[in-house]
């Protein structure tokens, strides 16, 4: 699960990680109010107004129809108000949101941490994630803070250092020192960085996160180390242990159809194609998307109805798929193992009748236990539904249907 920057920073702070302080606001008035508060607490005179959406590239991204950037420096209370007004309730388009962008409902008013002082401020990169090949967590660090890490990895891989963490003992002090030295730090900044990394790993581990990306980590002009941005992914499977983190879910950031599917215990991911699909099992669902493409269509979604495909789940699936206006045909692909095809077929017929007229052609492929019986039920239902037994047949039917539709 993704959370917002302001939520991520609150998780970090709880574990003693120093952050760029800030307060979230949802109106320009509130933004000015929290900026005043922040000023009295931290002494900051300038502020950074940061759009809170679940996507990167906010600093370079622009508010739709204007030149306003998603992250901007405010040098006065008036600036705070103007920028917040420009951003709140508007759509921010970044390279990660796609052209449709994302609506900004909240801004984070943060203190200015790039103030002048005895040394030059410098940005670094730190992340913690699971190394799937090694079955343990890895800390990645780079002196190239503020840059897109994929680009650093591509052009200057030698500038990324990795430190793997033994799951039995966790992060050791020498490892934190190793990373801090590799970043070229010394003196107070070095000590601060060791503290920062140690606290950061603890936060990652104890919150059951699956990814932390702190980019940039800033060494301030007075040698403090702090998180200016924070991207945190939580392990969905571990949320039951962290009710306070589970509450951070912002369904505004998710596709409404995906939220609805989740409420019906369906695993749905919306895609851009024209053929919807409904499948039991994640692997077969991906394979079904692939066969739609090979048949000349484009998959409109991923939808795994799970082990117990019945009239209720099929009906919920139909309703969700049909809400996507791009869907011109639907392929149902069920491999009946424990679940019997005749039951699924009856479920399809029942769901179809419950919804009424379904405006797009439907191809139902049922294979496995009682497949023939399932096909018979579909064929005799009198509905505008094509049935298939073999996977290949289903692919041919999809091609035929698309040809008939002139697609």
């Amino acid at each position: 699960m993704n959370i917002h920057e302001y939520q991520a920073k609150s998780v970090l702070k709880k574990y003693g990680v120093r952050i760029q302080e800030g307060v979230v606001a949802d109106t320009p008035d509130k933004a000015v109010e929290v900026a005043r508060e922040l000023s009295s607490q931290t002494g900051t005179k300038w502020f950074v107004v940061k759009s809170q959406i679940h996507a990167g590239g906010r600093g370079k991204g622009k508010i739709e129809g204007s030149e306003q950037r998603g992250v901007a420096l405010a040098k006065s209370m008036e600036d705070v108000r103007t920028i917040s007004k420009n951003i709140l309730g508007k759509v921010l388009v970044t390279h990660q949101t796609g052209p449709e962008g994302k609506r900004v409902n909240k801004v984070l008013i943060a203190e200015d941490v790039y103030y002048p002082g005895p040394t030059e401020p410098k940005e670094y990169y730190l992340s913690i994630l699971l190394d799937r090949a090694k079955n343990c967590n890895v800390i990645m660090a780079s002196t190239e803070g503020g840059m897109d890490i994929e680009e650093v990895a591509e052009h200057t891989p030698e500038k990324i250092m990795k430190e793997w963490i033994d799951p039995r003992v966790g992060l050791q002090a020498f490892q934190a020192r190793k990373v801090a030295f590799a970043l070229g730090l010394e003196g107070d900044a070095f000590k601060e960085m060791v503290k920062f990394i140690t606290a950061l790993y603890r936060a990652y581990n104890e919150s059951d996160s699956s990814m932390f990306e702190i980019n940039p980590v800033l060494k301030t002009s007075d040698n403090k180390i702090l998180a200016v941005d924070a991207k945190v992914n939580l392990d969905d499977n571990a949320l039951f242990r962290h009710p306070e983190l589970a509450e951070m879910r912002d369904t505004n950031e998710e596709d409404p159809l995906e939220v609805e599917a989740g409420a019906n215990n369906l695993n749905y991911v919306k895609l851009d194609g024209n053929v919807g699909c409904m499948v039991n099992g994640a692997g077969l669902a991906m394979a079904t998307m692939d066969i739609i493409k090979l048949s000349g269509g484009e998959p409109a979604n991923f939808l795994d109805v799970g082990g117990g495909a019945n009239a209720t789940t099929v009906e919920a699936g139909f309703r969700i798929i049909l809400k996507d206006p791009n869907v011109k045909a639907i392929l149902i692909n069920i491999f009946g193992g424990i679940v019997r095809c005749d039951r699924v077929a009856a479920g399809v017929v029942e769901a179809y009748k419950a919804i009424g007229e379904i405006p797009v052609p439907i191809i139902v492929r049922l294979q496995g236990t009682n497949a023939e019986e399932g096909a018979r039920i579909i064929n005799e239902s009198g509905l505008k539904v094509y049935s298939a037994i073999e996977f290949k047949e289903a692919a041919v039917k999809v091609s035929e249907v698309l040809a008939e539709l002139g697609l």
């Binding site: 699971l130 799937r132 090949a133 079955n135 343990c136 967590n137 994929e150 799951p167 039995r168 581990n205 059951d208 699956s210 392990d235 969905d236 499977n237 571990a238 039951f240 242990r241 695993n267 991911v269 895609l271 194609g273 499948v279 039991n280 099992g281 994640a282 692997g283 077969l284 669902a285 991906m286 394979a287 079904t288 998307m289 692939d290 066969i291 739609i292 493409k293 090979l294 484009e298 998959p299 991923f302 795994d304 491999f335 009946g336 193992g337 424990i338 294979q367 496995g368 236990t369 073999e390 996977f391 290949k392 289903a394 692919a395």
Partner: protein, 292 residues
Amino acid sequence: MSVLVNKNSKIIVQGFTGSEGSFHAQQMIEYGTNLVGGVTPGKGGIRHLDRPVFNTVDQAVRTTGADVAIIFVPPAFAGDAIMEAADAGVGVIVCITEGIPTKDMMLAKEYLKGKNCRLIGPNCPGVITAEECKVGIMPGFIFKKGTVGIVSKSGTLTYEAVDQLTRAGLGQTTAIGIGGDPIIGTTTKEAVELLMNDPETEAIVMIGEIGGSMEADAARYIQESGNAKPVVGFIAGQTAPKGRRMGHAGAIIGGADDTAEAKMRIMRECGIHVADSPAVIGETMLIALGKK
């Protein structure tokens, strides 16, 4: 021969008396699996499905001589169940449970290091040796005894592949569902290696999906070992977008190397017969075996 499980294996079920455990235990017994008992803490001493129930895996193993355990306990307790089975000396541990926290799996996998046991899964359909022993949740009737071994990350897609093989007249030795989580006990490569070393297995089907590097690792192993047996491969998720989790926790494209396209290219380079469509897995195996 076959691998991991056979008609002589003695199986216990962890989470025996729960609804999932009971249902699938019954199905396994009907398939002919030598299921010798089960474990549910606090219910030791009773009988369930005409088999003894124990409080601990240790007691179950000492009393029944079980050498295989299948786990159906809920995600919050599954890591613990895996370690308990390993501690009791169970040789093959099959974990069906879906949704185990990554941290728990990381620790469980670490705990297993140096112990004489093999973990299959979690989040997998299990292992079956055709017409001998089913330790999993797959529909037994689609399997026929034969000479093709199967390794797969997926459940229903495995059934699809097996069904195509059986219809093509190709029976199976053992099918190993390794699971779709980011951390799993047995990798694609390790499972392929087991089948490569099994004298009864003459050909292998390897089914993967987007995310991670396990299929590429297995492909390189197959090439290095001299392509001793024909291997047919398929990767699901050719149309999956980057950065979105496709059902399985591990099925997410992170970089350029874990797309379906990249994996299929590496597999081809390593001499694997790649099926472009999930509908032609059986057919591709017939071609690989020179039967078509």
